[in-house]
Subunit: 314 residues, 6 copies
């Protein structure tokens, strides 16, 4: 039995140690990254059982992904694909403030995920399913896998969580918007930036976060404002969360951490104010060190950081 | 002849190069640290003769400590203990703003310091003795050594300087407070944060720095406010020092540097305004680079930094 | 159900990057090491289910150990001890040919292992138990734990494997010999160097490996000759294994790898010639890279290396 | 045919990786630096043909300089000098905010530049000549070379650009001032800080930038105010440029980048507002990464940064 | 005018710093590699004009390739492909003796080379054309490009040089053999290992190098025996070259260096004995440092190494 | 009182971390080196009091030298020269077997040593004086200083030790030979390679080490054969020492270590066989790690290495 099922593509990640044009970086660290596995690690560290499903190459990078997820107590169903390699991310910084990410994921093992890889019984046995809108952009079979998983969750009454995570390198705003609108009615929780929300929502006042959130539809809408905090619209109640003040080292992974914090507290049955605060705290931890997920907090860590004011207001 | 005698435990120090949970740090630098040896180096760099006494293991880390202190012109009486290893510190950062220090110092050579290690004639021949309240928390023999040294200094009219340096990993507030109150009447100079001062002082207005300083008792009381500067109460006169504005790289060692700056200028017979400014400048240098003492200033360096305003006001 | 149970102390390991006196090493890598967990990883990589039991501190290093073993598919029962820290190893090289290892393991969590930590049912459900003679040297409770485990294995007909692993820093030859002789009759497989074998065996011809092996007693005796290969005496048949010729990077862990290779092939029911060759190959892999266990082979890797001649002769 | 000719001394550069006193730096990166070659690279990246002339040692560092400039599409006329080595720079930071640069350039190959090294036809065939007031401070022959080049440019109607770049390690303010005043009438564009401008200008109101600029004389005067932006006086019109807000990693090279941006847009015939904005943007890029020139922008990069307000006002 | 034209795919190269399974490598250096560009650099360093043609991505890695080749005085015609990224190599060592190379080059920019990218006039104006049998394995258009180039060279009487460079990751022995046999009649110089020669040659005595060489056909046949030296069959005369004795750091690139040495001396009109010795010396240099080409020799370097005996015998 | 006085130039040392042409080295370690200070450290580590005299710049590198020597218990009289910088060495490896050292020491502080820097009373109070023939090649004043020191030693009956240390970058064989012949009669111990001995000795049989040694003249002649061991001719008795077998990491400093071992045992009054063995052991340690002196042995280390046979034969 698992609390949360998630799936997607996780890649080996070469991260440049220095700021500047990538061709001058010279020293790189090997790690791994993937939106859904970041969420899986985050929820696992906060105390829940998580299953992650994904395809990896039958290679060292695939083993790196599988073993790292096991290390993090994630039930990693890393399906080795004999016909395609593990995808790669190359991450640098053009300046201290400009992240530069490139992918080698076309026809990668991870992009070859298909409905057959996702056992409906696994999903039905969980309490929540988390997907991102990166997966449908990877391949037709991956897109079908997302639909298949959402259907399995709906049929079993399992909570469906979606992080929009729009990636312009993978598809256009029009393509993404069309797909997102095709699934939004089947989603219980959606995580988005304001700009991502506008891919889905049809509202007369797209600059008003509350109007935007209401136009999205799901029961729980989480809007992320970056360094300005976040907002939740749940059951028609609006909550605003103050940001945590931390020295930012690497912003990548903050959104995944936010989703992980929220889902972990939903699984824990925490009250909504605390749930939103946990989401913000997890997001704050994510930016405090290099690496997309290494700094994610355990429960005991959450009190190490303090929000700039009381945290959540209604 | 030496100007200042100090003693205590100095440890080998493994410092993580990256921010994040220590288990992901992977790359560490080997160095050394110890509150009193940091002060010894600081006073030596500012031009005075300093003797440091301490026990070290008969091992490479003990030799690292002894040779580094010699390099810094400290007369290092590093007594090799055949029966115990040199203690260790492991230093990392959970986030850029949260230092994480662990010790392997239980039953270490340094903790086995005893009165017999401290020659009263050495202390009587100096102009000042500096101790920290870390040493009495290490072992009964180390506690006796501090008492022994203070008595030798009092008997010879040597200035007694005490840095409170409360370490909650070593003893409780109650234990520390009891010990501090047992020696404070024999102390001429005390360095403390406000919170540390409250371990000792009994005052109706513990949030008023001046009242707190007066309640402590010694002729020279130095209260440190971190990034907000410092205050001195000497001979019933209060002085406030503006902080120096520097980019902080590593806060560890700032208090030791402050004490070193103050003691060096007391030894030099500097006027009180300048003495307090030197203390603040030394503290500012300490935070500008990794390592607890490497960045401490020489006299010629002091003018490289500027306080945020005129520096000291009365 | 597990194939092999093992237990002992695993430590965080700071490994110097450069050759020379440790005080000049400056750059260290953080990893972990422990004789029995090295064996656990080795057997797991070769395809069997392994359970490792040990105490660790309730700290980052304890989590490093637990998560790394999980990553390697070892069922890691890392019992967090709230009262003691994870032990440490510091590993350097005085010269390219002289390894220099120091421990900070006195009163460590790992040394506090006790019989209550080892569930007899766990051992009874396995096919083999592996212990090293490091554990009895750590503490009386750890010594009792080894006896307790061997008794549980004997009672259930589980194979008992012992690696002598004599550590002069922990006990004298006399102490080690006495303990070894007290358990050797209950052991089915023993791994030893010739010098270690002489701690146990009483023979007129201690320089004759065959005589030495026969004097030891267990059904399977494995004598390791370092770069000169190995010998097995099993069921009165002697086999000699040629060494593999590889460029040695770090010899630490070779003995553990040898034991892992042998045990994995015993579990797999391999024929004795092949079993001994696998042991040698695993030992050869162990020395090819820094780190005590990182380079251990998977089944598919075994063919990457070639013995210097046909490998095993009788 | 080349658009811009520049010349001077370029040195191999050892840059310390850590902040603190240089003797504790231990890890250094090898690179190269030189005011005029920084400008050459900057103008080349922005799309123009640039020729750099200089002497280098017949050694690895000379080849490092020549090959790096070729890599950057600069026509590098690196004249190998058989009798002198390539000069060196050692760059560290005493604190995060205090750069510490030392030179080993006395009698270096680069300082032996002479008029014969500069073909007047090369200069006459270009559209602009850029010199810095570092070169005349290196040696009498280098000083003659600058004069020779300016004369060749004047004779051919080629724009003469001068960056004051005062280096107190090389000559006194009086020496520098005398030389600068001897050439300023032959200069079309001058780049200076306010303090540098005061080396040349004779004005009653030296604290008024506009008065200072007018007193300098050349048709284009560029005053740089560091983090407070810049000012241009061209054809009697004053323009103020807002600074770009970036996280500063290394300030060295910002002035060279500014000059490169301005010259590139002058060569491109850009309108003056845009030209000044390009200069500021190039300067901003220069400080975003370690290295004096590595982070300089290509045309396509310029839009990655945004000025703090609309950029240029009149 | 150029002396040598070559073309093919050059990739960005992430090279692991440590020996062991790639997933533990963690630290990587960014560089670049490609068989033909290695040859281009080698010939350029030995004093000839070389043109390299290839497609690269319109990305940082493409610019890394182009700028590095310019640095090495190679006329680099790096055609930026807007539709495909620069290919990648990941290079590690499973053990000190086992290189582990993986590619991300499927559909890469480099593999999209086509006949239109190769101007026949460029080839006709050179004295030699060098190709490898890697290129025909990349794509049909790349295969056509090789044929196109050979035809252009034949038509113009330009020497055609072929390095077999069999890559089993790209095609089968049968596929490679078929292609090689289709071009061998149009080749003037062929470089091969014995095993590679057997892909082409039909001989009754495939273990006799001389027979093998004769069966290949071209006027110049170079057989490489690794650490055992090399053999040349030219104009029916057989020469044997002793290997150079050097400490091997990285064997990758040795074959390319050998070809570069031979071609450079052919271009220089050196006598055949010396030409073969230069080829061996260049190959020896290639293995002395990490990186596929960085250590290639200039003319003045050739005398730094000495062959194990007199070098070449007939 | 000191046992040994030595003097000369010690430089800051940038050592490349990688093998290959220096321009690709990129990562450098900062350290220090100098033939005489290497000897000073070596003798100090073996238990004697040593004074080193030399000029250094009034800069960070000068402080690095002074503090490092103090750390090694050498009485370092590092005279800061306000008018010249500390000299530099750049050390790399063209191949694993070819060290590449460059100097920036012309007009350096160290080369400005003069007779006035060497107090005759200091020398007269010692038991031995050690000089190298590097110093006379630095400048006329340095040459005079050596003469001055030798005269002071002769006058006081202090042992005069000379290491030939011929540096072709500093002077010709003729110049060196003339100077050496001018002092050899005043020397008690000379250290030389066979090739260096031929700079001085006039013998009919220059290839016979014994004849060569006899022709040199001093009471103690030490001939070093590198990896083939060494020979001593003392008081007409010839001794041959077997080399120690160690894995060589960096050969620089081996000769200095040899001299240090010999001198330390001469000071200790060891018997000649042992003295020669100590010299060889110290030389062996020197090559086992990077750095010219860091790996030099203490007395307790000497037994860690073993000569290839019994060590010394007569």
């Amino acid at each position: 039995m698992t609390d949360l099922v998630t799936f997607g593509e996780t890649m080996a990640l070469f991260a440049a140690r220095r700021t500047g044009p990538l061709r001058f970086a010279r020293d790189f660290d090997l790690g791994l990254g993937g939106a859904e596995s970041n969420v899986a690690i985050g929820v696992s560290r906060l105390g829940h059982d998580v299953t992650w499903v994904g395809r990896v190459g039958d290679d060292e990078f695939g083993e790196l992904i599988a073993s790292t997820l096991r290390a993090e107590r994630v039930d990693a169903r890393a399906i080795p694909d004999p016909d395609a390699p593990t995808g790669l991310m190359i991450k640098g910084r053009r300046t201290a403030d400009l992240i530069d990410v490139r992918y080698y994921r076309k026809d990668s093992a991870g992009s070859r995920l298909s409905p057959a890889d996702l056992d409906p019984a696994l999903i039905a046995g969980a309490r929540a399913l988390h997907v991102s809108a990166i997966t449908p952009a990877l391949s037709p079979s991956a897109r079908a896998a997302v639909r298949h998983a959402i259907d399995a969750a709906r049929a079993a009454g399992v909570l469906v969580s979606l992080d929009v995570n729009y990636r312009k390198a993978l598809w256009t705003r029009e393509e993404a918007g069309a797909w997102l609108r095709s699934v939004i009615a089947d989603v219980d929780v959606v995580f988005a930036t304001e700009d991502e929300a506008r891919l889905i929502a049809d509202t007369d006042d797209p600059d008003d976060p509350v109007a935007l959130a209401k136009a999205l539809g799901p029961r729980h809408v989480l809007l992320k404002f970056g360094a300005r905090g976040a907002m939740e619209l749940s059951d028609d109640q609006v909550r605003h969360a103050e940001p945590y003040k931390v020295t930012e080292v690497d912003p990548v992974g903050a959104g995944d951490a936010f989703a992980a914090g929220w889902l972990a507290d939903w699984l824990a049955g925490a009250d909504p104010d605390r749930r939103l605060r946990t989401a913000c705290a997890a997001g704050a931890f994510a930016v405090t060190s290099q690496g997309d997920w290494e700094s994610l907090p355990r429960r005991a860590d959450l009190d190490l950081l303090r929000p700039t004011s009381e945290g959540v207001s209604r």
